[in-house]
Amino acid sequence: MSQAATAVQTDTNAEHHEELSFLYKYILPTDHKIIAMQYIFTGMIMAVIGGYFAYAFRMQLAFPGELVPLYGLVGPGEYNMLVTNHGTIMIFWVAMPVLIAGFGNYIIPLMIGCDDMVFPRLNRLSYQIFLASTLVLILSFFVKGGGFGGAWTAYPPLSSVAEYSLTDWGASLWVLAVALEFVSFLLGGINFVTTTMNARAPGMKMMDIPIAVWFIVLAVILFMASVGPLIAGAVMLFMDQRIGTSFFLPSGGGDPLLWQHLFWFFGHPEVYVVLLPTLGIVADIITVFSRKKLFGYKTVLYTAFATGGLSFVVWAHHQFIAGIDPRMANVFVVTTVLISIPLAEMMFSYIATLYGGSIELKTPMLWALSFIAAFLIGGVTGIYLGASALDVYFHDSYFVLAHFHYTFFPITIIGMFAAITFWFPKMFGRMMNDTLGKIHFWGTFIPFNCIFLPLFFLGLAGQHRRIYNYNHFPDLATQELQNIRIFATVSLIVMLCFQLVFIYNFFVSMFKGKKAPDNPWNANTLEWSTPSPPPHGNFKTLPTVYRGAYEYSVPGREMDYWPQNEPPEES
């Protein structure tokens, strides 16, 4: 940007960023870093709830009809509620708040070199609406009939008729919570895009923006472009539930397929909405820990554009056997297979970045590498499901479930841990314990594979999802299949236990960890040029940018990194 390039170094308005009272610093903050932490902590608390739900229903699957320790008996209705809200929470209340709203808020102003978001109060409002949506969702668990049990996709008529879902108010509160959450992210998205486009440090051209920032911005643009139909659908669903309309009810002339279209027109881009931030975070981490320039910065960026564009024309691959026009299925098979091309290209770029690098296996790097490995399995199995002929068999089986978790677990959980372990020193001014970090990594990654790899086999064996007790189905009640279910459940429990290591490491390091230097990883991006943790207002002096974000191991330089804000040497 020419404006940015010609602007001069400015003293930050340090005098405008005086210390605030506790109320305005932590309860009603406008500082993007505090808002980011509010999102991240809320997301982490919700992750505990989502994980607890997973534990409860997995125990029911492994030991059907038995009392689940720390939970109780899981009946069929309760099972539906648990799986529905596990999915809802993990996608909408963990992946989105932590990866997009949380880390987006934290890193965008720091990485582009400005003092805050351009609309700080809008930012605060965004979190407050998100918090309200969280409370509404939690409230829905306690109303008569319990939480919503119509699956996170909320297909009508199951979701729109209380007699079918058996969760009258739970269903309506679920819709309300989701709608509120989307309003919150729309507000946040406006802030992210505007800040990145208008508030970059002097000298930071579009192609100097770190990939993590680019991808978060692209993600919110995808979100804003896709969410409209779903909000409209949510209003119609709410009206079907509460005032007797029949938008999606066949008995009144409505069409349930319309909801599926409205949902998936948002739902599939949503995969990329949460995927892109993690891809960006991973790109930044692998360059730092392999001390190499990102291979094909522009290629990576353009593949993300292509992925984003194509993500709008693949939605009906979720509906191949829902009764859609078979001619449309052909179209969506082609577009679905097409979308794997840019993503594969991006993965090759990441692998090429690693090639020949001085790889240092610190905890964030382990998470980043494991993301690439796990996500590739998720991506490749998606190609099977994208073929409509194969999907006839696989649809709604555990193969889909395993594929889905091989994409969403790396995106949400691995991406979240990668980001936390990487930026923790900046956020709290202290280092996390690397040994405990590695124990937590292996204790999560190995059980993760032990949970979900066997589920592919269960799916191939014909095990349908959303069944609370397989003993009712003779073909699926064999001991061999049950052993696999038990193995997956035990692996989940092992994985959950290892999260205690993370929680211990997180909180102990926050207060007693080794003091972190400003730039512990010798990274180039601007957030590492400010103190750890950054003061209110971020920078003592607003930085000027002289180069791209990935100038590592530049020949002829003594140091193997070259911060973006370091002035060029006089020749």
């Binding site: 472009a225 002339g253 069409d255 349930p256 859609i324 449309m328």
Partner: protein
Amino acid sequence: MSEAYAHPNYVKIWIWLLVLLALSVAGPMLEIPTLTIITAFGIAIVKAFLVAANFMHLKFEKKIIWFLLLMSICMLGVFFFGVAPDIMMTEGDQWIDCIADKSCVEQRL
């Protein structure tokens, strides 16, 4: 930004809109199907363009705003044509009557 806008002649645009409204009301009265479609949809598009360009000031905006508008219309088109074969061709009754009627199922396949 706003001070840089040139203002269109709003009254003139309004009169054009009224004329087009009259045409779109009169067109269907002739009961010629093609003319009805042209007067209903064709004139609606022209009117929408006039409103967007003048009253919404798109005429005076940067190209990026037009690009965004175009993208939105494309998205609408993608969604409409992706959904229409399922929703519009069946009069919404396939879920009630069609399943019992084999010929109906065959026809849909």
